[in-house]
Structures are given as C-alpha cells and as structure tokens.
Symmetry: C2
Subunit: 301 residues, 2 copies
DNA sequence: CAATCCGGTGCATTCAATGCACCACTTGGA
DNA sequence: TCCAAGTGGTGCATTGAATGCACCGGATTG
C-alpha cells in the first residue's frame, strides 16, 4: 500500500530532479537505495522508464505513460477514500482548484468558507494558474477542478458550468468616464490604461476588440497581477480592466466599474471544469455543484 | 509494485473465500500472515473493508469500493504495459473477451487466428457468458470486450459496433420446411423444436414473437448449449434456432438454415462493446477494430 | 457441553531493503 | 591535457519489516 505509492513518489522526484542523486538528496535517502528502487521497478515493470544520459536521467515515452498512470491511480484512490469517508458519515475530503486570479478576492473565499461551514472536515488547496496552465493542471491530476476565464484549448477540459462575463473598465469615482451612460472601448483606450499581460483572457478580448476598431491596447502599465490593477487605478487616474466576478460593488469604495459596451466587445466565458471523463471525489463534486449553483444565481442577478 | 497488487490479490481471495483462513490456504500462506496483511492494509487505508462475522468475514460497502478501485487500477496498468510494448515495437498484449455461444464455432476462431497471424505476441482469453453476465464481466474488469446477442441492460455497456441478426431456424436438408420460400414462425412451432433456455436472446425473441401470434414455444428439448441444438437436429427431425453468425453455410453439410420471416420476428442485435468510459489497451482496441470491420463486412454481404 | 471453526496476537526467524564505500565513465574548465 | 566534479551502478554488512508457529478468546453447532 504505502510502499507502492512511495516508490512512485520517488520516481516523480527523479523525473523532477533529472538525476537520481539529486532526487535521493531531496527525498532523504541514499542514491544507492533510490537507484535500486528504480532498477527494481523497471525490472518488474518490464521496461526502462528513464533514458540514462551522461549528466543524469530523463523520462522516456514509456515513463511518461507510467507517470500518468500512477497519477491517475493516486487521484482515484483519493476519490475512493473520500467516498468511504462519506458513507461512514464523516464528511472528509480534500478539494484542489486551479483558478484565474479574478476568483481570488471575493468569489472563491466566499464559496470555500460557505462549504467549509457546512463540512468542516473538508480541506482545500487553491492553485492560481493562467488559462493555459489550467488544463495541464487537470490532466496531470494536480488539480481536481478548474475555474478559469476564456480557456484556450478544451480537448481534455470537461465544462461543468459556464457563465458569460463582460470585460469591465474600472476607475475612481471622479474619473471623466464615470458619468457615461454607455462605456465605449475607444473611450477607455483614449485615457491612460493599465492592462493585464497577453496570456490572460481579459487582455485577449481587449486586443481582439481593439484590432477590430483599428486601435491598439497601449497600457502605461502592463502586469500579471490583477491585484496591482485594482490598486493602481486609485493612484494614477487610469483605466483598469477586469471581469465583474473579480470586483465588488461594496468594497473598493473609491472605485467604480462599468461593462464595456457589447457593441465593442462580446462578453467572455468563465468556465468551471474538470478533466474529461474523470470521476471526482464526493467532496469535490459537491463543491462543484455548489459553485455551479452560485454562478447560475450570479448570472440571473 | 509487485507487493502492492499482491496484497490486493490476497484481499480478493479473502472476499471470494469469505474467510481469512480459507483464503490463506488457497493462497499458500498462513492465516496469521494474511490476517496481518489485511490489518495493515485497513490501518493504512484508514477504515475497515471487511465486516467481522462469527463465521468469517464479508466485504462492507467500503470494501466494494476498494475492490473496484484496484480492479480498475490493475486493468489500467495492463493497458500501460500494452502501450509501452507497442511503442517499443514489440506487439505484445492480452485480450479478454466475454461472448455469446454463437461466436464460438466460426466467428471468433477466425477472428482470433487472423489477428494472431498478424501479431503473434498477443494472447487471448475467451469467456463464454450469457447476456446478463457479460456486462458484469466488463464492469469488474474480468473481460475487456463483450460480443453478445441482445444484451439486456446497457448502463455500463458502451457499444462499439452493432449488426442485426435475424433468428434462423435450422433443420436437415430433408425436413418438410426446407422447401418453403418464406419461413413463418407458426410453421416452426408446428414441428417438434429444440430451443435454448430463457436467459438467451434467441429464446427471448422467440417467446415474444410467439406470444404476439397467440402461440407458445414448447420445445421437446430445452438446453443451455447451442452446440447441442446444432447436433440434435441431425438426430431427430426437429427444428433448432440460432443466429446466422453461429451457423455456417459450408459446414454442417446435412443441415440448412433459413431466417424466420421478419413479418413474425424483428432481427435482434449482436453488439460489440466495452465498459463505458474505459481506455482499452492497444492490442484490445485494435482487435476490436478488426472485429467491428469484420461485422460490418458481414452485414453487407 | 464438547468439538470445531473463526479472527487475533506474542515471539523467534528470515530475507529483502537500506546505507556505506567504491568503481567506471563523462564532462567541463583550469 | 589533465583533474575535479558529477553521474549511474555494484559488492557487502546490517537492520527491520513480513512471515510462520503456537496459542488465546469467543461463537456456532451438533
């Protein structure tokens, strides 16, 4: 039981370190022992899973398959444990989420707190990932759920729920744009603006919309942090961008935000998803249900 | 590696024997050792998986989940091994099929021989199962593929290919029915007939069709063996029933078979399937492709 | 009430996994 | 050109986890 997944953990360590000796140090065992474990595994498995290089080792295609298999196995064992805990009355479990930054300030804390209020035995892990990384995160079983804005590829991403989210401009209450009845993209671009990096969905939508009207997004500050965007607009009279779920009408009292007219930009999609075909643990799938419900209520509100 | 799946094999033995001591004898170890392995597993897993009864042990719901998990794991490991063998150029693998009796005399031997001719490294296991057992066989990972006539439930049965098969009557060349242009059900029932047991699809279709015309199937011999049916019609001048894939125009020279008119009976379906959502090994999925192709060619012929 | 079968446990034993020291080899820079 | 540093792999002594044996307490069964 333990022994087996332990060997797999060591194999993962070797793959990560790129060398048996380094991995042995990281795992607090001798290189000799680790070398033997690997050799024994390869012998029993029937084929090498690492190519031996002069400066270390590297996973071969067989190794990639093996790694994927054991990750799936470990994840499925966690699901079984969760289901067993559930049927014995103890609401235990662990939920891992990969999400966009927009969910961090308001939505996810609320959701997690609400769920843990009902099921205190369930713990959470939140990994902040951009939309490209999110799917890889699911496929490698490092995360159970993903909640991302405008993910690119969707081959192994099974959508559990989707809501539209228009890109919003945000600025201080005394900004010239604060009084406009309808906010046009060109107005925002005419003012100094701060925009997220290209890898983010908000920026992607901005770039596309700007190109369509013959303009370009030319931010005075470009950043990977939406937190920086939120706070920066309070220091320089600039226009920031974010989706509504990452903003709050009540908080950030000095700021207002308005959706950019859908004549200029179609709303993007915020997707809740899991790895295609995977069976989630009880705790995870109930949390997913709760999140989907919350998203649905939000889009009608 | 070995150790782990070994423990699981022992747990399976306990579940099968219903007692630790019996399972220990079957597995050629002492009851003490087996008891300790189970205790250690339950301790590390975090919950009992057997209920202790006065006369032995029995799997509890948690145990059912654990068993299912390890069966899936073992099967997936076999798939990985098959894929690794495949990418190293060695066409190795093992294919397990649950099938109806009709496939035994002609179709499956041809298909397996043809496949093994191209890939001699692949071995086969053929389990004869009725349509009820076939799906259970897939779900418990005891078989990779199922090829059955008119299976009942289809909840975990993913259909890979389907062809219609009319029920045929078979008799000797000199039987009074041998000259009819169109064969009606009532004609068959008017003669002495030998029919398969109720659990088989052919009998199910016969019963339903007979009921619709106000008749009943009243066999002079009822049997679980289609082989018996095939040979019996040569000894008494009786009418037997079987689907075409279980019969051969060339062989059984003394016999002829004719489809029963579809005015009386709609054709049943012969289904090739796997467990829903499961990823098959390379060898298995290629064999499935070959079988599907052969079935397709057969239905146009 | 005795026989029998069950799961569980203390104790001595054994064998596989480990750590240590060392080898052969490649690489990169003094 | 050569040496230091790093790599994977191996023989040997040691240790600890898994095993087998003997036995216990309890429940069923006749």
């Amino acid at each position: 039981m333990m022994q087996h997944l332990d060997t797999f953990r060591l194999i993962e360590a070797i793959a990560r370190a790129g060398s048996i000796r380094k991995a042995a140090e990281d795992s607090n065992i001798t290189a000799s022992a680790l070398n033997r474990r690997l050799a024994r595994f390869e012998r029993e498995f029937g084929s090498q899973i690492f190519e031996r290089l002069p400066r270390g080792v590297r996973l071969n295609p067989a190794g990639e398959l093996v790694l994927q298999h054991y990750r799936a196995q470990r994840s499925d064992l966690a699901r079984v444990k969760s289901q067993v805990a559930d049927l014995s009355g103890v609401r235990r479990g662990h939920v891992t989420i990969a999400c966009s930054q927009a969910l961090l300030p308001f939505f996810l804390p609320q959701q997690i707190a609400a769920y843990r209020n009902a099921h205190p035995g369930v713990t959470f892990a939140v990994n902040v990932r951009d939309r490209e990384q999110a799917e890889a995160e699911l496929v490698s079983f490092r995360s159970d759920l993903a909640l991302v804005f405008e993910p690119r590829v969707l081959v192994d991403f099974e959508v559990l729920h989707a809501i539209p989210q228009p890109v919003c401009a945000l600025f201080t209450r005394d900004h010239p744009l604060a009084d406009r009845a309808e906010l046009r993209l060109r107005d925002c671009l005419d003012h100094p603006h701060i925009a997220p990096a290209h890898k983010y969905g908000v920026r992607g939508l901005l770039d596309m919309a700007a190109k369509r009207v013959g303009r370009t997004v030319a931010p005075v500050v470009e950043t990977e942090s939406f937190e920086l965007i939120r706070y920066y607009v309070m220091h320089e009279r600039a226009v920031g961008f974010q989706i509504p779920i990452g903003l709050s009408a009540e908080q950030d009292t000095g700021m207002v935000f308005r959706p950019i007219s859908d004549r200029d930009m179609p709303p993007g999609n915020l997707l809740l998803g899991q790895m295609r075909g995977r069976v989630l643990s009880v705790a995870t799938s109930r949390f997913a249900d709760q999140v989907a419900l919350a998203l649905a209520n939000m889009s009608v509100a």
